[in-house]
Assembly symmetry: C2
Homo-oligomer: 104 residues x 2
Amino acid sequence: MNDYDVRVAHVKGEHVWHSHTDTDEFFLVLSGQFNLTLRNTDGTETSVELVQGDTYVVPKGTEHKPSSPGGSILMFEPSGTSTTGDNFDGELPDHVDSTTGHQL
Amino acid sequence: MNDYDVRVAHVKGEHVWHSHTDTDEFFLVLSGQFNLTLRNTDGTETSVELVQGDTYVVPKGTEHKPSSPGGSILMFEPSGTSTTGDNFDGELPDHVDSTTGHQL
């Protein structure tokens, strides 16, 4: 809608640490569980465990690492936003889909 | 997030015909049922009946009338968007909340 995408992802396992320089990122858990670990500006980490119906917004510029034992999520973000952000840590594991979305 | 609101509304009854001049409007049905009737450019109407998990985007400028036997919905739209659009038909019934959103 407008210049934003509504994306649904099936998630399992560990994603990579990454951040989006220019955009916040909205998450809604549709099923299962979805965890986010965030790096605070003082270097400490904060973890949130989200279950079905929970929502969370990662502020732009905040490094975060998603993970899940299995679940599905809905995201809202500007079209063209990469799932691995503008910067990510280390190498990309095979199971991580670095994409700006797939058309249904 | 960014300059958008994520809004949840509990809906029941008939809303008013209205349109948003400058923005699309995204709907996700969280529970119950949610119906939309849209006025096509040729004057005919199209109705969609949405149930839990269904999504729909009303394009900007398209007149639409929401109604529901009872349900809850999630909407994405630019902050400041009115629930009754930039134009609405007739008088506003008492049960219709014309708002740009309520803080939780």
